[in-house]
Amino acid sequence: MQPLIQVESLRKLYRSGKGLNSGHVVPAINEVSFSIAPGITLALVGESGSGKTTLALCLACFERPTSGRIWFGGRDIAALEEKQLRVVRPQIQLVFQDPASSLNPRLTAHEIVTEPLLLQRNWQERQMRERGFALLERVGLSREVATCRARELSGGQRQRLVIARALSLEPKLLILDEALSALDCSTQAQIANLLVELQTSSALTFLFITHDLVMAAHLADEIAVMNRGQIVEQGVPEKLLASPQHEATRSLIAGMPRAIVRPHMSGAC
């Protein structure tokens, strides 16, 4: 199958220090190549500082890679002009870790999910109202929530709202950067279930960035391990966990929590 997005030898260099100190170049991502088939979830795992977020920002066209190509929809989006990117950006959406800081505190939930539609200009008032309610419903938020502002919502509801906004322009790829990490475990389970439902119903493609290997193994069809700016290992979860090849993978596996729950109580398996 044709991949949805294909990355070829991507590099992103940052210049460290300012003023007299500058000139020291740090590769945040270095010769990274991978592809994601449509409708699947690729989990990107690795320690802090391994380059996961930089990679996400490059894919979402927030950062320009130093070199390399990102093929998406038949075009190399790394080489596009800013103006041409306006067509690409709606198709790749980002969800961040902290929903509170991703939401405008002055807008209601309904205004938040319909705000991206304003940019498209061809929506009528009534259509937009309906679309807003439909989006909220799609992520499991009731109509009463529509008039609430972010501070009135729980952490789980806020993250649902962020996801609803990301879906408003019908993206093909959703990048979830530690989207579950800040949530309580019962809320994590609810949002994880929502992601699976959305993927099943709308054939969405996810890039799921996390340092939680257990959740990655639960949600992803494939796991890529990042270390010092490079993808050092990639494979289906059961293989990667059973026979890790790279030191970084082994170290992440060693950090996995032990099974703390006895089999009769364990929910998922």
Binding site: D184, S186, Q188, H211, L213, V214, A216, A220, S251, M265
Partner: protein, 344 residues
């Protein structure tokens, strides 16, 4: 810090006789408007023995940070302790004068926060920030203070003591910053360290390192630790006992093994079921299956419900749950649970 062997022996002797910290029937409420109070902690009682690690497990809104703040007298202005006592080394902290509390806080009881970048001064070298703790509590001369700082930092950063000490917070990694907070906390050799989500902002490898620092504190200095977290898997390997907090009440408290593996309270059971099992990854058939979750959410603490707070979400509820609050029942010698399933 300087004489761990003597301290440890003394503490062990002490622990045989009494608890280091005894919290009894604590009620804490926040005043929202005149005459409207929302209770955050209700009738909470527990003990911490010297050298013990107690895990406090609770989701956001369960009152775990309020609990930490009330132990240190650091509640916000509208937070009021309405009832109860907190005995620490024989003194009731709730009756202590502000001046007395100030000498206990930071010296005998220390707090470690979640976000080290917020807790540290951005334009001060971290070594100087550790020194401030000595300056505040022990009136020794500058030279011996500097020597103590070096000793404390050498214990936490064996290889790079000098570089770390002269760095600014932004030059350090998340794990290094968290160690600086630990250095500040243990500088004066406290008997009790309270960690409020101390590893929540760290990646798993660093988390593991910091947890082993905690383990070392207990092993080498006999420090008792109250570790507050929303993540049950952190407690499994570290805590001696676990207290599960729900809506400001103790759901259950007991040895870690029995609370996490043979949970009694329906809330604890449902909470642990929400975690995907680490074994999931080894079997493709289990991938993306629906995870159990707890229906509803923890809302409106101010609502006057007569019954058990977990009742609306509980799958095991029955007759008495709606009409009155459960009292604590001793299920075993060490395991206490507040649920009508186990008698009332």
């Amino acid at each position: 810090m300087t004489n761990p062997v003597v301290d440890r022996a003394a503490l062990q002797l002490h622990s045989l006789m009494t608890s280091l910290l005894e919290v009894r029937n604590l009620d804490v409420a926040y005043l929202l408007r005149a005459s409207v109070a929302s209770s955050a902690i209700v009738n909470v009682s527990f003990d911490v023995k010297a050298g013990e690690i107690l895990g406090v497990l609770g989701e956001s809104g369960s009152g775990k940070s309020t609990l930490a703040a009330s132990m240190l007298g650091l509640l916000p202005a509208n937070g009021k302790i309405q009832r109860g006592s907190i005995l620490f080394e024989g003194r009731d902290l709730l009756q202590a004068e502000p001046r007395e509390l100030q000498s206990i806080r930071g010296r005998r009881i220390a707090l470690i926060n979640q976000e080290p970048l917020l807790a540290l001064h951005p334009t001060m070298r971290v070594g100087d920030q550790v020194e401030e703790v000595f300056a505040a509590h022990q009136y020794v001369d500058k030279k011996s203070r500097r020597e103590r700082v070096r000793q404390v930092l050498a214990g936490l950063f064996p290889t790079e003591t000098e570089r770390i000490s002269s760095s600014y917070p932004h030059q350090l990694s998340g794990g290094e910053r968290q160690r600086i907070l630990i250095a500040q906390a243990i500088a004066c050799g406290p008997a009790l360290v309270i960690g409020d989500e101390p590893t929540a902002s760290l990646d798993p490898t660093t988390q593991r390192e910091i947890l082993s620092v905690f383990e070392g504190l207990r092993r080498d200095f006999g420090v008792a630790i109250v570790l507050i977290t929303h993540n049950p898997s952190l407690l499994a390997a570290l805590a001696d006992r676990v207290l599960v907090l729900y809506a400001g009440r103790v759901a259950e408290i007991g040895p870690t093994e029995s609370v996490l593996s043979d949970s009694l309270h329906p809330y604890t059971r449902s909470l642990l079921r929400c975690l995907p099992s680490p074994r999931c990854g080894t079997n493709a058939a289990n991938r993306k299956i629906k995870l159990p979750s707890i229906a509803g959410d923890l809302h409106s603490l101010g609502l006057l419900s007569l019954g058990c707070r977990f009742e609306p979400r509980c799958t095991d509820r029955f007759e008495p749950c709606r009409t009155r609050e459960p009292v604590e029942v001793w299920a075993t010698d060490e395991h206490v649970v507040s649920c009508f399933k186990y008698g009332s």
